[in-house]
Amino acid sequence: MLRYVLRRILMTIPTILVASAIVFLMLRFIPGDPALLMAGEDPKPEVIQALRRQWGLEEPLPVQYLMFMRNVVEGNFGTSIRSGLPVSFEISLRLPHTIVLSVVAMTLSIVIGLLVGIVSSTRPYSLVDNVSMFFALVGVSAPAFWTGLMLMWVFAVKLGWLPAVGVGTPAHLVLPSIALTGFTTPVLARQTRSSMLEVLRQDYIRTARSKGLSERAIVYGHSFRNALIPVITVAGISFGRLLGGSIVTETVFAYPGIGKMLIDGIFARDYPIIQGAVLVYALVFTFLNLLVDMTYAYVDPRIHYE
């Protein structure tokens, strides 16, 4: 397993390098002088010159990329055009919020999704199963921003039970996380159900039953663990979708996370912010995939004992 782990960690390095290269190139694809783009409106000539030097815009492209990477490693993502504050500072203000929201939403997703999936698989084609799977289908078809808005309308506007926008209290997290889980919970539930059905059909389960093991021991002890492998893969992909979905959800609920920062940045043409936000997302996502693969290595005995 150690070899797998080391190899996997090594693989992330080229991924991060290329991802950062893409982010770097992104800014330079936009028509216009990057220094002017990053300086904002009506910049003084000294400011433009300073920017040119800092990002090495007079140098050939590969040198520029190296300077970009050096800046990134030093934590210098540039200065926001809109606020005048360092981008790294803006990120540090907002990243915790996004992380909290994502973690809460993902945990909810996993707990509910797995439970529903297991229950459904133990009573296949029953009313519970059919109803759950139908709702799962609807959940997957509804856009997160619409469910968010509808939830907002019912719970915040009409009933006034929960706050609609912003952060501050745990109550502020409720609506956004429910909206976010709308897509991932059904996916996890469906995958768990089909994995479990697959496993429950196996001979060794029949053996366990004929040995007289209790149903609970069979389901949770034997079947669930083996069904877990594809579920983990799907969970990893889902977390990625969740991160992407959080961009929209944060906008809907005016939740001050990285997603909202990115969108605000795009409309304000605040390119340093856009660059910073995209880079953060790419890094977090890569790290996440790494975590998922590590979990995989731990759970899948074929890799574990390699």
Binding site: V18, V278, Y281
Partner: protein, 278 residues
Amino acid sequence: MSQRKLIYLKFRRNRLAVLGSGLLAFFVTCAIFADYLAPYDPLRADLANNLAPPSSEHILGTDELGRDLLSRVIHGARISLHLGVISVGTALVFGVFIGAVAGYYGGAIDQIVMRAVDIVLSFPTMLLAIMIVAVLGPGLTNAMIAVGISLIPEYARLTRSTFLYLRELDFVQAARMIGASDPRVIFRHILPNSLAPLIVQSTLNIATAILSAAALGFLGLGAQPPLPEWGAMLSKGRVYLMVAPHVTLYPGLAIVVSVLSLNMIGDGLRDALDPRMT
């Protein structure tokens, strides 16, 4: 009984799939005959009558500029379906080509191609689409391009694994042994047999494409006003949520039902084409 007929009958037995087909037929009709079905001009504003709740005059009410919501939703079907089909179609062509080359030739080509695909996949799909639109600028066409590009990696992966499997089978080996050229083997032998998962994936991808495009539209990065794209309509109506929820409710419902119909069909196709369940 032919295999095709068997698949068709299996599909028909799935009630959800049939329901989905009916709903999709309804949407496609709306999309094609929007000009005749819509009671009003979707772009005609009537500011005196804006944010009107559903009534006998305007079945779904009017939006913030007084335009008839029903007409806009019907025309929105045309935009969404158009968007879905074109972005998936383009992604299909490019993705299958890439995956086929990687899967058929294997070796170094496979490694390089798949590494490239993995790197593109290191960005969450929504983020990728947003990045592309941030560079290209907002608009319906750019949204189509962005969504299309974000779908390519999935097709490449799928085609590659199918090709890796089919390439080893006897009939392919036989064709190569009698000297069939590589393109011939790919197009005449392997590709026709790899269609099933591609069809299922494409149906589900059109659903995803509609959702992604609606999200872009909602963020203001996709179809621009006054185009009646469902996501954009939701974005405009959002401000009036307290006083006129219908402006947000109905376009959203349209998205849900159209995507749902595609998902139902996709699931039904997947079950019908599944060789194990005969």
